[in-house]
């Protein structure tokens, strides 16, 4: 048994954290809400090689595993990056690669893809335009307004679909959701195993981001209650506030290793992959929702306004949590524990 991050994983995480602190402060997320440009963070992340980070180095990627991606995506969550980084890097690119789809061909075949002249490696490192939205359910597709193409995982066959359509108002305005136009797509793969793996990766990537969002909300709240005073003392000196936030930390701390274990199960093709991904999804979703609730409560009225930053992270957390099908995950766990029969 070994269960700790490698020095390389820590170094990459720290590099991503630093870049995001610079290029994706709350003001950048706020601007994305208003439909403003996201070029600066997009370019910075492409320069870091994040879109293709799961590709082998020979194909222009960083050769990272599912486990390596978790700390990176936790930082992406922490910053509430207004781009489908997780969908692209952790879901779409690995699926394209596994399905033998040439990424440039794939992207150039539909919608607003930026042309097919680039080779795969340079495309993934090009300035923007490298982002892929992922559709998991009927209804508006998050990130379609910030992506070149939509990877549709709603059925047992994976499709590529164009991003064209009307923008729609959602809880997290920075996610640039669209109601897609009716338009033909192209098949990515008909292998249900690959599609199932891509769905597990999407859940895993969501869980990693929820951990980061939970941390961000907790950090903001701790900072606030240490300085805000009521009744002549810092709000954070009240036992009720302490206990709310201690419970928030508790949930995050116990969800985190479960997310890493799920990533390891995905990376190694463990027989427990489904069980472990569901465990991560359930605990990270519960934790992020719980932290959001405590964060808003401990802030008092200011946490309840859009002028303060907390809502940027709370709404991203709620939006990601909405994509987590708790009933399905709990059923999968019940089957893994032999409490239920397969449906």
């Amino acid at each position: 048994m070994r269960f700790a991050l490698t020095d390389d994983q820590i170094a990459l995480r720290d590099a991503v954290r630093e870049v995001l602190a610079d290029t994706c402060p709350p003001a950048a997320v706020r601007e994305a809400w208003a439909g403003g440009p996201v070029d600066r963070v997009s370019v910075a992340l492409v320069e870091l090689g994040l879109p293709g980070m799961a590709l082998p180095e020979k194909d222009g990627g960083l050769g990272l595993s599912d486990v390596d991606l978790v700390p990176v995506l936790t930082e992406v969550g922490y910053a509430a990056v207004p781009l489908p980084v997780a969908e692209t890097a952790a879901v779409a690119v690995p699926l394209f690669a596994a399905a033998g789809v040439d990424i440039n061909d794939a992207l150039s075949g539909v919608g607003s893809a930026p042309g097919s002249a680039l080779d795969r490696a340079s495309y993934m490192q090009g300035p923007g335009g490298a982002w892929v939205a992922v559709r998991r359910a009927a209804g508006p597709v998050p990130w379609a307004g910030r992506a070149s193409v939509v990877l549709d995982l709603t059925g047992s066959v994976a499709w590529m679909r164009p991003v064209g359509g009307a923008g729609v108002s959602t809880m997290d305005g920075s996610r640039a959701a669209r109601v897609l136009d009716e338009a033909p797509g192209t098949v990515v793969t008909e292998d249900p195993e690959l599609v199932a793996l891509a769905r597990d990766r999407a859940d895993l990537a969501t869980a990693a981001q929820l951990l980061g969002l939970g941390r961000r909300m907790l950090d903001l709240t701790v900072g606030y209650v240490r300085t805000r005073t009521q009744f002549g003392v810092p709000v954070g000196s009240f036992q009720a506030v302490k206990h709310h936030l201690a419970d928030a930390l508790l949930q995050l701390e116990f969800a985190e290793p479960v997310v890493y274990a799920a990533a390891w199960a995905v990376a190694t093709g463990s027989v427990h992959r489904g069980r472990d991904v569901s465990a991560a999804a359930v605990l990270a979703t519960d934790a992020a929702r719980f932290v959001a609730r405590q964060a808003i409560q401990c802030h008092g009225a200011i946490g309840y306004t859009v002028e303060y930053d907390l809502h940027l992270y709370a709404k991203r957390a709620w939006a990601l949590a909405a994509t987590c099908d708790l009933d399905a995950h709990l059923s999968r766990l019940a089957r893994a524990l032999e409490l239920e029969e397969a449906p």
Partner: protein
């Protein structure tokens, strides 16, 4: 006193009358009352309610009411929300200011009551300040006595729908030598008084539902409202403001009908979404919470009618409805699944519900009150 959960003939008649009128008149699809456009539409609805004498059913006839009993008020609220009628944008006036005006207002000041009920005057509250939220006694906005009126400086915040209102009621420090609860005065302030600036700002659910109100060397003449701007005596503000919190007001802040209607909407949603067993249980529990709230309120009403002041028991009421409202909306979001990312009535309602445990005294403070005043635990700590 006895237990009989059926309507009396009079209550039944009152119920039928309210139901018939509401069926015929309730508008559908009003925009949120916390936006400027929506607020105007809601004011029209208030005017219509008032014209038909349904705006303030428990008030005296001369002020536009129907002299309804508390039981009838509960019946009206039940029918109002069951009919899907809109939120009450006059509620800060009619539920927060009006009980105080009835108790402390002079006859001329009480002339404000029908104007408020008719939505001619639109009142917002001015309690909180940037440095005084839960700790209301640390108010610093000052009103200084000057010839013929008051000179006001300071800032109020978290004023619900303040950007759309015409008047503000609130507490101001009139004796700077006194600290905490002393030296405060309850003032009535027209928002068009020169020097008053109102700036709306956004709530979590996206509506411009809050405002900051700045008082920049405002001269408030004594006769800015009929009967004078001081309600209940100079320096008496804290006592005046608190006097009615433990009375009916604790019961009327959020009526059971509102949550019962919401819980029935939740059962509709559960059926439409073919809820899992897990979520069906949560829907059942939300309904149970609304049902318990309805029955608890009835219990308190009979206590009030028997002359017992609910006092700190209004903290139980507030804890229950605010936690229920969050749980109910969290369940709705789970039922919606990925659609919970959409911007709609349920997701806005969820975000709005999160203000319940914060506003009107945080639930942490309410729990302190319950523990200290109802259970007799020692203060502080």
């Amino acid at each position: 006193m006895t237990i009989d959960l059926t309507d009396t003939p009079a209550e039944a008649a009152f119920r039928a009358s309210a139901r018939d009128w509401l069926r015929a008149h309730v508008p559908s699809g009003l925009p949120s009352g916390d936006t400027r456009e929506g607020f105007a539409r809601h004011v029209e609805w208030e005017e219509e309610l008032f014209a038909a004498r349904w705006a303030v059913v428990s008030w005296p006839s001369e002020y536009g009411g129907r002299e309804a009993s508390l039981w009838e008020w509960l019946v009206f609220e039940e029918e109002y929300y069951a009919a899907g009628a809109p939120q009450r944008v006059t509620q800060n006036g009619i539920f927060l200011l009006a009980p105080t005006l009835f108790e402390f207002g002079n006859p001329e000041q009480q002339l404000l009551l029908p104007r408020m009920a008719a939505a001619e005057d639109l009142w917002c509250q001015g309690w909180s300040e940037p440095g005084a939220g839960s700790d209301l006694a640390s108010i610093t906005s000052r009103a200084e006595r000057v010839d013929g009126g008051w000179r006001i400086n300071g800032q109020k915040t978290w004023t619900t729908r303040g950007a759309f209102c015409t008047h503000l009621f609130g507490l101001f420090r009139t004796d700077p030598a006194e600290r905490r609860h002393k030296g405060l005065t309850y003032l009535l302030v027209p928002l068009d008084t020169p020097g008053v600036t109102v700036r709306g700002f956004g709530r979590l659910d996206g509506d411009e539902g809050f405002a900051e109100v700045f008082f920049d060397d405002v001269f408030l003449p004594d006769d800015a409202v009929p009967g004078g701007v001081v309600l209940g005596g100079v320096g008496e503000g804290w006592r005046v403001a608190m006097a009615t919190t433990g009375s009916e007001r604790g019961l009327t802040l959020r009526s059971p009908g509102r949550f019962m209607a919401a819980s029935w909407r939740l059962t509709d949603l559960a059926r439409a979404r073919a809820a899992s067993a897990r979520l069906r249980e949560r829907v059942v529990r939300a309904w149970l919470g609304a049902r318990a709230y309805e029955l608890f309120t009835a219990w308190e009403v009979d206590g009030l009618l028997a002359g017992r002041s609910p006092g700190a028991r209004s903290s139980l009421t507030k804890l229950h409805w605010s936690e229920l409202d969050v749980a109910l909306h969290e369940t709705a979001l789970e039922l919606l699944g990925p659609d919970a990312e959409r911007d709609d009535a349920w997701t806005r309602g969820f975000q709005f519900s999160l203000s319940g445990p914060i506003y009107a005294g945080t639930n942490e403070i309410q729990r302190n009150i319950v523990a200290e005043r109802l259970l007799g635990l020692p203060r502080s700590g």
